[in-house]
C-alpha cells in the first residue's frame, strides 16, 4: 500500500517539532549555528542533513502582517528524477511506494542531486554520499508513523495511505473554500494536477503560488523528455561518422 504525507500548510504553526524529531530519530548533524535573517527560518532549505524544513513566508498586506508556513519534505514522486538518474541502483522504490537511498550502495556520483526538480537530495560533504528523507523506512517496517508526523502537534503533517490522504485533502480544501479561503488548493496530489512527476506521495495544501513557498510550478522528472536529447545524439553520431568517412576517403585520394 503506497504510503505518504499530506501536509496542510494552513494549520502549520511553525514550531519546527518536525525538524527536531527528524534530526533526532535519524541522528542527523546540525545545519550550522548561524542566523539567516530569513524570518524564523534558519535551516534555509532541505539538504543532506535536513530532511524536514519549515519555511516562513512573511506577508505584509495593507492592514495586517501574517506568515505562511510550510513544512517541506521529500515528495516521494511517482516518477522520481533521482531514482531514474541513479547509475548504481542505490535509489530504490520500497514496498511502501516510497523512494529510498541505500547508503551501502551509493558511491556519491552526485547525479541525483541535479536530477531532483525540487532540490531535495544532496551529497553530504564529509560523508560523500547522497541523503534525503527516507519516510522513516525503519519506523514503517515496525508499523510506526514517521517521526515528523508523530511530533506534529497540529496534524499539519498527516501520514497514511496515499489514497486515503487524497480523500482527506479534498475534503479539507472543500471545507476551506466554504469558509471563504478560496485560494486553497492541492499541490502534487495527483498525476492530473502534476503530470511531470505523475503525482507526489507527499503532497501539500497551499494558499498561494508555489513559487512563494519555493516549490516549482511545473516540475518534471528529467527523464520524461530526455528522448529529444537521445535523438540529437543519434544525429550527431551520424554526423561524426560521415565526417570521419569523408576525411579518410579524401585523405586516401590525397595519398594516391
Amino acid at each position: 500500500m503506497p504510503k505518504g504525507f499530506f501536509t496542510d500548510t494552513t494549520v502549520c504553526i511553525g514550531c519546527k517539532a518536525c525538524e527536531v524529531a527528524c534530526k533526532q530519530w535519524n541522528q542527523l548533524p546540525d545545519d550550522g549555528m548561524f542566523f539567516s535573517g530569513m524570518s524564523y527560518d534558519n535551516s534555509v532549505a532541505l539538504g543532506a542533513d535536513t530532511w524536514r524544513h519549515v519555511s516562513f513566508v512573511e506577508k505584509q498586506s495593507e492592514a495586517q502582517f501574517s506568515w505562511l508556513m510550510l513544512s517541506d519534505v521529500c515528495k516521494h514522486c511517482q516518477r522520481a528524477g533521482c531514482l531514474e538518474a541513479c547509475p548504481t541502483g542505490a535509489i530504490i522504490r520500497t514496498e511502501f511506494d516510497t523512494v529510498f537511498v541505500q547508503p551501502d550502495v551509493c558511491n556519491g556520483c552526485g547525479y541525483c542531486v541535479v536530477s531532483c526538480p525540487f532540490g531535495v537530495i544532496d551529497r553530504q560533504q564529509e560523508d560523500g554520499r547522497a541523503w534525503k528523507c527516507t519516510l522513516c523506512y525503519d519506523r514503517l517496517k515496525d508499523n510506526m508513523e514517521p517521526a515528523c508526523a508523530k511530533a506534529c502537534p497540529t496534524d499539519s503533517i498527516i501520514f497514511g495511505e496515499v489514497a486515503e490522504l487524497r480523500e482527506k485533502a479534498k475534503a479539507r480544501v472543500e471545507q476551506l473554500h466554504e469558509r471563504g479561503v478560496t485560494e486553497a488548493y492541492l499541490y502534487g496530489d495527483s498525476a492530473e494536477s502534476q503530470p511531470g512527476t505523475e503525482g507526489l506521495n507527499a503532497f501539500f495544501l497551499l494558499v498561494d503560488k508555489p513559487e512563494v513557498y519555493n516549490l516549482p510550478p511545473d516540475p518534471v522528472a528529467p527523464a520524461k523528455k530526455v528522448g529529444q536529447s537521445w535523438a540529437a545524439l543519434a544525429v550527431a553520431s551520424l554526423g561524426i561518422l560521415a565526417a570521419a568517412a569523408g576525411a579518410v576517403i579524401s585523405g586516401r585520394k590525397f595519398h594516391a
Partner: protein, 299 residues
C-alpha cells in the same frame, strides 16, 4: 509581488561536481572521436593510414583512461567506483555512459595493440575490437551532453536538442587540435584537417544555435551570457574561430599547425567549462526555473 521567490534562494540544488567532470567531458569526447576516426581509417583507408589509425586508437584509449580517472576523482566514495557497473539503467545516461566508457576504452587499447600484431587470430581480434570501439566512440563523444540535459538545471534543459551536436562537434575539433600538435605525414594531416574543419565549423554553428535556444527564456540565457560562464563561452568561440582560420591559411607550416592546435584545444576545453559553469549559475537562480516552467517550455 508578481515574480515571487523564497528569499531568492535556489529551488534546485547546484551540481556537486568539481572541475574534473567538465575535464572528463573534454577528454572522453576527444577519445570517442579518435575511436571513430580510427574506425573509419580501418574500414576505408585500405591500410594506407595504418600508423594514423594506430595513433588514433591510442588517443582513444588514453582519453578514455584519463577521463575515467577524472570521473573517479569526483566521486564522493571513490572506492566504490565499480558500483557504476552494478546495474544497467537505460533511464540514466550516466549508467549508459559508464558502460560505454568501460567497454570502449580497453577495446581501443586492445585494437591498438593487436591490429598490427603477428598472427592471424590476434589481428582478427584487434580488428573486431577496432570496430566495436569505433561504434562505441560515437556515443562516447556525445553522451555527456545527454547526461547534463537530463537534469533539472534550466540552461541544460533548455539546450537539450542542440547540446549533443555541440559536444560532438567540439569532440571532433578537440581531436583534430591534438593531432595538430603531433608530427603527421602529409596525407594524415589532410585527414585530420578535413575532420577538424568540419568539427570547428559545426562547433561554431551549434554554439550559435544554443544561444538562440536559451534566449527563449531571458532569465535562463543570463547564465550563459554573464559572469564566469559568459567569459568562458566567449573565449571558446574566439579560440575555436581563430584555430579554424589559422588551420585554413595556405602554406601550412609547423608553427601554424601548433598555433591551430593550441587554440583549438583551448576552445574545446573552454566550451565544456562554459556549459558546466552556466549550469551551476542557472541552478542558483530560482527565477530561471520559475520562468522556464511558467513559459510552458519545461515538458
Amino acid at each position: 509581488m508578481t515574480d515571487p521567490t523564497y528569499y531568492d534562494k535556489p529551488v534546485i540544488k547546484p551540481p556537486v561536481w568539481i572541475w574534473s567532470v567538465p575535464a572528463y567531458f573534454y577528454a572522453g569526447g576527444v577519445g570517442g572521436a579518435a575511436m571513430v576516426l580510427a574506425f573509419a581509417a580501418q574500414i576505408l583507408a585500405e591500410s594506407r593510414l595504418r600508423e594514423f589509425e594506430e595513433r588514433c586508437r591510442w588517443i582513444g584509449a588514453v582519453g578514455g583512461g584519463i577521463g575515467t580517472a577524472f570521473l573517479i576523482h569526483d566521486l564522493g566514495r571513490k572506492e566504490r567506483f565499480l558500483l557504476m557497473l552494478r546495474v544497467f539503467r537505460p533511464t540514466s545516461p550516466m549508467s549508459v555512459g559508464s558502460w560505454v566508457l568501460a567497454a570502449a576504452t580497453p577495446l581501443s587499447a586492445g585494437s591498438a595493440l593487436l591490429t598490427f600484431a603477428h598472427g592471424a587470430f590476434l589481428r582478427w581480434a584487434g580488428q573486431a575490437a577496432g570496430i566495436a570501439s569505433g561504434i562505441l566512440g560515437l556515443p562516447l563523444a556525445t553522451y555527456t551532453a545527454v547526461l547534463i540535459s537530463n537534469t533539472a538545471v534550466p540552461v541544460w534543459q533548455q539546450s537539450r536538442r542542440i547540446l549533443p551536436l555541440l559536444f560532438g562537434a567540439s569532440s571532433m575539433a578537440g581531436l583534430a587540435s591534438i593531432l595538430d600538435l603531433m608530427k603527421l605525414r602529409d596525407h594524415e594531416r589532410h585527414v585530420s584537417r578535413y575532420f577538424g574543419t568540419v568539427g570547428r565549423v559545426a562547433e561554431l554553428v551549434a554554439g550559435a544555435v544554443m544561444e538562440r535556444e536559451v534566449a527563449q527564456v531571458p532569465r535562463v540565457a543570463r547564465s550563459l551570457n554573464e559572469g564566469v560562464a559568459g567569459a568562458l563561452w566567449t573565449a571558446a568561440k574566439v579560440a575555436t574561430a581563430s584555430s579554424l582560420v589559422i588551420s585554413l591559411l595556405p602554406n601550412q607550416s609547423r608553427g601554424k599547425r601548433i598555433a591551430a592546435g593550441v587554440l583549438g584545444t583551448v576552445g574545446a576545453l573552454c566550451l565544456r567549462f562554459a556549459v558546466f559553469q552556466a549550469g551551476r549559475a542557472s541552478s542558483q537562480d530560482p527565477r530561471a526555473t520559475f520562468h522556464q516552467q511558467r513559459a510552458g517550455l519545461n515538458p
